[in-house]
Symmetry: C2
Subunit: 373 residues, 2 copies
Amino acid sequence: MTSDESREPVLDAVVASPRPTIVDVAEAAGVSRQTVSNALNRPDKVASETLERVLREIERLRFTPHASAQQLRRRRASAYGFEVNPSGHRRLGHILDEFLVQLTVSAPSHASHLVAFAPDPDDVIAGYQQILASGLVDGFVLADTRHADPRPPWLLERNVPFVSFGRLWDLPELTRWVDVDGRAGVLQAVRHLAEAGYAQIGWLGWPTGSPVGDDRRQGWADGISGLGVSGDAPTAEAVQDLDEATGAAARLLDRLGPDAAVVCASDLLALGVLRAARNRGLEPGRDVGVVGFDDTDVAAAMQLTSVHQPVAEAARSAWDMLVGPVSTPGPVLLEPFLTVRASSRRDPTGLEGAGTRATPEHGWADDPPGTRH
Amino acid sequence: MTSDESREPVLDAVVASPRPTIVDVAEAAGVSRQTVSNALNRPDKVASETLERVLREIERLRFTPHASAQQLRRRRASAYGFEVNPSGHRRLGHILDEFLVQLTVSAPSHASHLVAFAPDPDDVIAGYQQILASGLVDGFVLADTRHADPRPPWLLERNVPFVSFGRLWDLPELTRWVDVDGRAGVLQAVRHLAEAGYAQIGWLGWPTGSPVGDDRRQGWADGISGLGVSGDAPTAEAVQDLDEATGAAARLLDRLGPDAAVVCASDLLALGVLRAARNRGLEPGRDVGVVGFDDTDVAAAMQLTSVHQPVAEAARSAWDMLVGPVSTPGPVLLEPFLTVRASSRRDPTGLEGAGTRATPEHGWADDPPGTRH
DNA sequence: CCCTCTCGTATGAACGTTCAAGTCGCTACT
DNA sequence: AGTAGCGACTTGAACGTTCATACGAGAGGG
């Protein structure tokens, strides 16, 4: 209203290109810095008329708060570190890459962003220490938690916020994780195969001892006993390597009767089954059912039925847990779903192509009526 | 030397946990803020004795400069945006994911870091605009440049630093890109197949019109004519889809004589050839040579010879171009290399497993004596 | 009528650096 | 001898916010 105390050369138009500051907006709207700040951060504290005027000026001047200044003053980066690995063990499947993408997609709704970093493999903790000490990030999203992982204890000790994608098997008292219920996924696979009419369902997994692998195998065991199909339920083991898998699959097929199916702990292992089957003239789907795990693009390419992880939902949960109130979520265990393709269909529907699709093809849309526990 | 003007309670030990600031270091070393700053940023401006003392205190107090404060004062974020996409077209191969990882690995040596962001697909530019206006990033690394991509002109107009992974086909005057010489890669593949003794070498590519695909095809054409193998050199086309590829491959095989080989524009297309070959009882490698492109993990899994892109080197070049002096690099075109697997070996060496390896297996170590133009 | 309370807004200071412009002492040129 | 120049270091200010606090006006209570 009273607008004649500013005697400096007031220009109506946006003068130069240098980014406008909060002070420019304040002057233009005839209020103080703080009111502009409030208009953005605590709109309820500003009289509605003033608020409107300020917001109008913000729009007109195309003002965007300067992130570094906010970070400095707020003493918070609103950023989180995500460790990426020069794919030594970039096994089949970029679940983690996809997880990073989904985290990034969800970041804005938490007024945060992600900073990628690659610690020295010889001293991973130092990498975390450094990026944290610089104030570049407030915390971390862990993925690919190893057995006896040094990171969770280290972070815990320093009170650094973090969340893990993948259960913290070593630290049962910790609840800040999201994971996908591998057991439930494999259970679904077993039921699906039983319904499809396969006479016998075997398991091809990793050597016992890996928590993830054991969990998935448990799903198979539960499925088998639940069906009462019991009788004979052969299993085989192979490490994550195609040749090994092919060999193990061949031996497994020897022990399975006709019309059998195999559920696998990974798409790569499943690939081994496909290969072993073809080697003896069996057509996947028609002659032997095969189901993989992870729904990698290889699975899509090979028309392999596979258990799909709801990565987008996992990312959302991770954010909630990371930035939400300390009280909120507890651990989250998500139910995966099956992407059915030709490798588990006995009917010859898909013969002209390579299989029809009952489920969203690439699956990447993610998250059906996603269930959570 | 003179150390008795500080009368405040001087504590020798690190007192509280709040992060030490440059002032704490200054006091501890008996110098001014600016000298500490200089010790870190312009060591040549500091007397060696003082320098040593300051650095010692920095170490002792575990001082790390506060990134936000630096960014604010320097008016530079030393950060660059990298757009990630919710993998609609996450076709076979995570070249881009791997590129992101390698960029991240190289970031520290340029005193920079990467911020991932996912713009609204309906207004990509707005996403760039916003993250830029907030001062969170100084520039961008583009990847997956589309035809008629709006981003390069937009960035150019605003003088925003950027570099592209992938040629800027639309803007020949722009030189700030790194790319992999697809033509040269395919040429290598053709020569390799000829040496291996395949009688005839066909091409399975994408429909004409995509710059990348046409470039790769040119490598095949060059290879064929260079070898004088000429005569009959059939080609076929398919879009990036396994069924299409399998069909096209079948038709292509019909037109090829015995002992022929096929070079493909992608691993997925090559997968189609493998499949078509097996459908008619041909053993890849022994009966028909197959080479793919991208050296995805699918290629590794299927023992498919493939052209490997030196992604790590590409990332390094991208950084050089992005943060280096305006004068430096010009465009960089990197030579890919061939990862040879069973699918292009006529001898039966690999029969017990699935093929022996002449080249670093997973290839991810990247970058042989990487050649650059 | 005075006192207290609340609401809306304003002011000074601070966050932790680096820039720009000093000061001081010494050397070396004219 | 005067002074310009240089090297080593210091000081005030600024970067653009938000925190903590203060202020003034009006409402409500005794």
